[in-house]
Subunit: 359 residues, 2 copies
């Protein structure tokens, strides 16, 4: 296994060739690293800006063996990497970060909330649901409306449904495919915040200022950061981020979504063991953005500064929003980040813009 | 020929796969463009972060025909592209920027200074030297010491020699290979400045703040920008940059090196029709750096903002300077930019660092 810190010229492997992999790759190459992507889709957004791409499934044994051999460290842009893949990479000789504990916690919503509560990061009340009977019992306990989500594999509002009354239980159970699920109590939040944080192999922690997020249809539309928050909220969020990072013995950048209940009371909505859409503002608001920060963490370099030098309003370009590029390219206060995706399917994340304002 | 502005998803070709091509490629991909590099060296620094690289000589007819066909616009990272290559690219169907006029002016030091003086951008006195007799006559006219440079192909202090007295003339003439040359009077400058500017297809001009440069052995060591200058000097530099851009009907970013004689008097030392080492500070000092600015110009997008939000001290990492990466990676006020070059030959540009200070 490679000695840390990894020198420039080492190879960083990334599982996943989407926009997060692309921006990670660009950050890694700025620091002098070569990057190899593993993604089943040829010519992926990340593959197009990297030294190489292996085109194969994430659980392809040969591909993983090769990744393990050519890469000094392997990381990922999404959390649904099979645990067996991570083991195989490690057998191939590569460091893998974040590690299996973080992946396991992020892949199962019941495990995730159980872990969070155990480390002192409060969440909404929840019950595990393995049957319609469990769901009815859960509704009894938590009250309606409550949110029913599959335990695994959901993202951007997929695999989840609001259960507005006990009478809707059977329909809701069918709607998510009658699969192992979690029922979550509704949070009476005043706004949604998130915090991006990083931890190195040596335990060093770096935390960015909070962002305030607006979702629509379960998909993030905008983040404004640094969010306007009182000191108590800022301190509480940092404490939660640190508890999560330490609890997972985490290496890399993590995104922690929070419900702000007011008066400095925060609940964790979910954690994402990777760079996060709500951290894209750091590209134009901070000297060291979340992508460089993640690379620094996984290659064993000291973490970079997290202070904001501007206030950023990040807006996702979904589907044909990207057709606005002519208008957007003419605004001097807007920085454009496009992902090189050919097909603008409805709702697909095609890029984002950061509007730069003084602090 | 493609309509402007080019939409994201278009392909930008770059002649030259060194560090300037690499940083241009990274900027282009941030804006959603695909990039193809032409460079005779396989796995070039730029090729490693681009969609593709054609490995061939810059005057290879087939390679140029392919570049012209697959690229919507072609640009270059160095000025010694053969004029015939530019013609062949245009025949292949691609736009080429900057155009042949700028290349011709930059490839011959006598033509360059003649052009500069013609557009009202003053230089030191000079004489064209085609023989030892010309050299002796030139020394008579300009006095010694004077600087003898080959007319073509010199950079970073190569192909030039100081002639300290008339007795040295013969040796100097041999030292530069008895080739067509220029003899330049010595400038009594107090410091070296440079200005990075851009012009679009529509004639729009954008100019960055001045940088102050320190060279050593003919090679740039540091740039501090924005330089501390009075309004008169700043205005004069901007006027010179605009005159040069307009005189060349230029499209893209240009670097203009200046001698500051004091009292707002500036002479142009040389122009580089490309992104420039003295503009690397813009990566961490401006929202839109010189690389994005160049891409914006050549693809026909509006130029980006040039205001500085920090004062930057840029230092080149030459040869084994790059071995300092461990120390440098731990400084929170330093941003590291490495070029992915494997072999740290003495004096080779391996990377640079930007030290970020408040304005």
């Amino acid at each position: 296994m490679a000695d840390l810190p990894l020198p420039p010229g080492s190879t960083v492997g990334i599982l996943g060739g989407g926009q997060l992999g692309r921006m990670l790759s660009q950050a890694a190459s700025r620091l002098g690293f070569d990057v190899v992507i593993l993604d089943p889709e040829d010519n992926s957004p990340a593959g197009r800006v990297s030294r190489g791409q292996i085109v194969a499934a994430y659980d392809d044994p040969t591909a993983l063996e090769v990744m393990g051999r050519v890469c000094d460290v392997v990381t990922f842009e999404f959390e649904n990497v099979p645990a067996a893949s991570v083991e195989r990479l490690a057998e191939g000789g590569a460091l893998v970060a974040p590690g299996p504990t973080a992946l396991a916690a992020a892949q199962d919503r019941v495990q995730e909330k159980t872990f969070l509560n155990a480390v002192g990061a409060p969440t909404v009340d929840f019950v595990a649901v393995d049957s319609l009977e469990d769901l009815n019992a859960g509704l009894e306990r938590l009250g309606a409306p409550a949110l029913l989500k599959t335990r695994r594999d959901g993202y951007d509002g997929k695999g989840q449904v609001w259960v507005r009354s006990a009478r809707m239980a059977a329909d809701a159970w069918e709607a998510i495919g009658a699969r192992p699920a979690i029922l979550e109590a509704r949070a009476a939040f005043v706004r949604e915040l998130s915090i991006i944080a990083a931890r190195g192999w040596d335990g060093q922690i770096a935390v960015y200022p909070l962002g305030e997020n607006k979702h629509s249809g379960g998909v993030l539309r905008t983040t404004v950061a640094p969010a306007v928050v009182d000191m108590k909220t800022q301190r509480r969020a940092r404490a939660i981020a640190a508890a999560v990072l330490e609890g997972l013995d985490y290496v890399g950048v993590i995104g922690v979504e929070l419900f702000d209940l007011g008066d400095g009371v925060l609940l964790v909505n979910e954690i994402a063991p990777r760079v996060h859409n709500t951290g894209h503002w750091t590209q134009d608001g901070c000297a060291c953005d979340q992508f460089e920060q993640h690379i620094r963490a996984v290659v064993g370099w000291p973490l970079g500064p997290t202070r904001a030098h501007a206030r950023i309003e990040m807006t996702n370009l979904l589907g044909d929003d990207v057709d606005q590029w002519v208008k957007l390219s003419g605004k001097t206060d807007i920085r454009i980040h496009l992902y090189g995706k050919a097909e603008a399917r409805p709702g697909r994340k095609m890029g984002h813009v950061n509007r730069v304002k003084p602090l």
